[in-house]
Symmetry: C2
Subunit: 584 residues, 2 copies
Amino acid sequence: MLRTHTCGQLNISNLGETITLCGWVQKSRDLGGTTFIDVRDRYGLTQLVLNTDTDANLRETGKQLGREFVIKVTGNVVERSNKNTKIPTGEIEIAVTELEILNVAKIPPFLIEDETDGGEELRAKYRYLDLRRNPIRNNLVLRHKMAQEIRKYLSDIDFIEVETPVLIKSTPEGARDFVVPSRMNPGEFYALPQSPQTFKQLLMVSGFDRYFQIVKCFRDEDLRADRQPEFTQIDCEMSFITQEDILNIFEGLTRHLFRTVKDLELGDFPRMQYADAMRLYGSDKPDTRFGMQFVELNDVVKGKGFSIFDNAELVVGINAKGCAGYTRKQIDELTEWMKRPQIGATGLIYARHNEDGTLKSSVDKFYNEEELAKWSAAFETEKGDLILILAGETDKVRKQLNELRLEIGGRLGLRDKNKFAPLWVLDFPLLEWDEETGRYHAMHHPFTSPKPEDIALLDTDPKNVRANAYDLVINGTEIGGGSIRIHDRALQSLMFKHLGFSADEAQKQFGFLMDAFEYGAPPHGGIAFGFDRLASIFAGLDSIRDVIAFPKNNSGRDVMIDSPSTIADAQLNELKIKTTVSLS
Amino acid sequence: MLRTHTCGQLNISNLGETITLCGWVQKSRDLGGTTFIDVRDRYGLTQLVLNTDTDANLRETGKQLGREFVIKVTGNVVERSNKNTKIPTGEIEIAVTELEILNVAKIPPFLIEDETDGGEELRAKYRYLDLRRNPIRNNLVLRHKMAQEIRKYLSDIDFIEVETPVLIKSTPEGARDFVVPSRMNPGEFYALPQSPQTFKQLLMVSGFDRYFQIVKCFRDEDLRADRQPEFTQIDCEMSFITQEDILNIFEGLTRHLFRTVKDLELGDFPRMQYADAMRLYGSDKPDTRFGMQFVELNDVVKGKGFSIFDNAELVVGINAKGCAGYTRKQIDELTEWMKRPQIGATGLIYARHNEDGTLKSSVDKFYNEEELAKWSAAFETEKGDLILILAGETDKVRKQLNELRLEIGGRLGLRDKNKFAPLWVLDFPLLEWDEETGRYHAMHHPFTSPKPEDIALLDTDPKNVRANAYDLVINGTEIGGGSIRIHDRALQSLMFKHLGFSADEAQKQFGFLMDAFEYGAPPHGGIAFGFDRLASIFAGLDSIRDVIAFPKNNSGRDVMIDSPSTIADAQLNELKIKTTVSLS
């Protein structure tokens, strides 16, 4: 090796040893006759001392050093007079006898420090320099530890990691498939998997019993902060189990991760019906780090002549605790914020529970003190609280009020990144109506089984058929979800029929799976966690970008390598395709 | 859970317990009044006994059972009168009280047994049934164990697993890149990585110090038994190291795998110069399970009037030990085999060391007994040995003699699948001449560093420049290879120049890497093992197919899911591409 130790390794127990370190120059201070250099590697930082007064070689080489130069030094471990107790190597320094420059460095385009001066775009272009910064590298070390613990936990309970193919088949469901032209099969395409769903089910048919994989998946859709065209799933499937088994095992996995990686002990995870999550939080992924549950007011407020409430399908609100001091201006701003197209509320009704005990609403004309007392009782307000109310179509106002609840929760500091509130959401609907295509879509995916007692509703009341489907939510983020699958050909065919497939289409696209069901398919189910999201929650980040070594931007571009890019005509010719867009 | 135990779990210590098992019917024998059923899952096989005489329910359900039906049984663990000592559950059986059919099964298209009657194509189409067979499933369990041990070994010595992107950039070097049209960037394409080479080097520039990844890679080239369009690499890179460090660490990893997974203790791995491997075995991946090294005869045979030898650049042979008894016909057949176009030898000269001590050659006219004694000395023959000799251009005859050596080694039973002969091959040439394009190609890849003492030869004698490159070979199969990389922009530019890149092309394709070298790149190097090949060697297989859950055939097709396939015009339109081939 070029070195005897790393830059994070030496301490007082190494005094007197002659050692060699390699690393990057973090900073250098020339104090006239003595130069102090901090040398950095992945493992830490060590202080070097160059006696430039007495050693001409050290003086000459030392002079050339700049930030981020790569150096190799040999020297003796000595005790520091001025100790730094904040770092493990802070009690010692190296009295350098030999200094070699292994590589020079241009001045970096931004500071390689925990707090940098580089903007997002610049850091993306020089991602390899951004990755030198401790916070980013620590995220990836964290991610590595998580992956190790996930594999250990699952392997210890008989799960086998099986690699499923990346070059698979496009499906009509997969309008957002990335496709790959085949040179050996001209005119035909592979697709990249949005998930290994059908393969893991086939592994159950094969008797693998317990499968998992930490696996890249792909989706060509418009990107947001928490979406990337390629992302990583913790993908699992089990045979001969019930929903209860899956919840227990993956709750166990999640607790194990928090325990081993973050040294946090989470208790039993609460569980909630999908219908209750929608009613109490207006979301299928409620942030349960704080309460502020919805209170429905139809019984309390209707029939008093206030047409907005009287005509509304649902009147619902929250108690913004301690916000009665909001000025009229602040409430107006909040109302405007709610009216933005992204949220689309038509207005915001409020009622203050003043410090003097009086109640005051924005609709005093329709509701007297006695009526407002009923509101206060419904919201369990105390002095200083602020009631915020929306009215309108049930689905819409719930969605809008969810946004308001999260906003107020954030303002009140109730969304602490160091607090973790997991929640199982159960009994999702099987189908959801898609306005755009005018037909039902599978809410989870077409292989999810309906609850047996609801199968009869498929014909009469499809939207109320519940699925054996579940999601794990942490802090309002969907970490993943799964379901008990269909393992019966007839039921799977029925499902495809209800999703608008003809028998022919279903057979053409998913015949291999339905055929497999005829050769002894066991009852099975599974779950998949978004690994990027889980890692970002562990790292306390809002975006998944910085738990990914080389992420893409919102246009799906890697600006560091400048990809995607045009390819040579010869290559297009060989693939028997051409582009229909002219690039000037 | 649906079951209390698995089918591999119960033994004499469970006697008297009431248990529930789930699994597949392996076979069923009705002995009139009693039915014996073997039920199978991933973990093993358990014998069930149905008293059909006394229990009408069991009788009726039992009657319906066929091979591969999925069942759930409850019963009592009782001692078998007729014990089977070959399986862990062989001392007990289950006296069944309840039997439920969880799913029916059609008659499988081939036997789900260790030895099956299904042909390759049929088994590929019903891969999910082939995967039920113990030998195939065991391969994947083996692979899982290997992956676990690899990750454990590397993580324990500070390697971090980092996921690199799958959607990257196509390069002109990458005529065999799979490409992916970008919907968001019409007319532009991603490429799938042939390896994460540039990304792992960037991670070294980022100071990650020790990186690894078990990662899918892609190559769109014509397929053979040991090639798949998607394959898996154990990919590694380290900073501040020498070649010696890399060899030691990855020899350690390989020994660890043999120890933990196969319970085999391999000693120190021998090392050989590339030049010696070519001289002694005619191959850069010699099978060293057996000797039979090449013997060069130019000094011995030239100048005796035999023009074939006299005109040859190289006369070289092997001693096929104990083969003197080969008949003339057998030798003629061997000669014909060598003349096939795949090998292309022009002829085969032989000499027998007869049991009576006499020497007899096919060219007695030119070489008398005294001359043949020199041959015998050169090959160290004993009575009963057969000398086989080729003559011609050095590179060609070495390649041909390599084929002959492997063939004879196989016939002599010297290529035992249970014996493992690892070998490091060192000091590969940096460049190789490509007849087709009329220029030099990088033998390993363009990022491999030349030996410093050979850099001067780049201009004068490129083909004799040696690289800091190494391969690990086991049993004649290249398991993987690596190199110490270039970490200096000027040397990397020089390398691209010698590979025929203009400065512009080099910058356009690999500018991001060369730019990165200017910001403090550490000395670094790495290695990548082919995980599929390594697993196939561990499993004792000739092909990598059966260590892959869902492999593709020689045309790159997955015949089970019927992929690749055509995609909808709407999808092509959205991607702004069209195909230039019409599919009838």
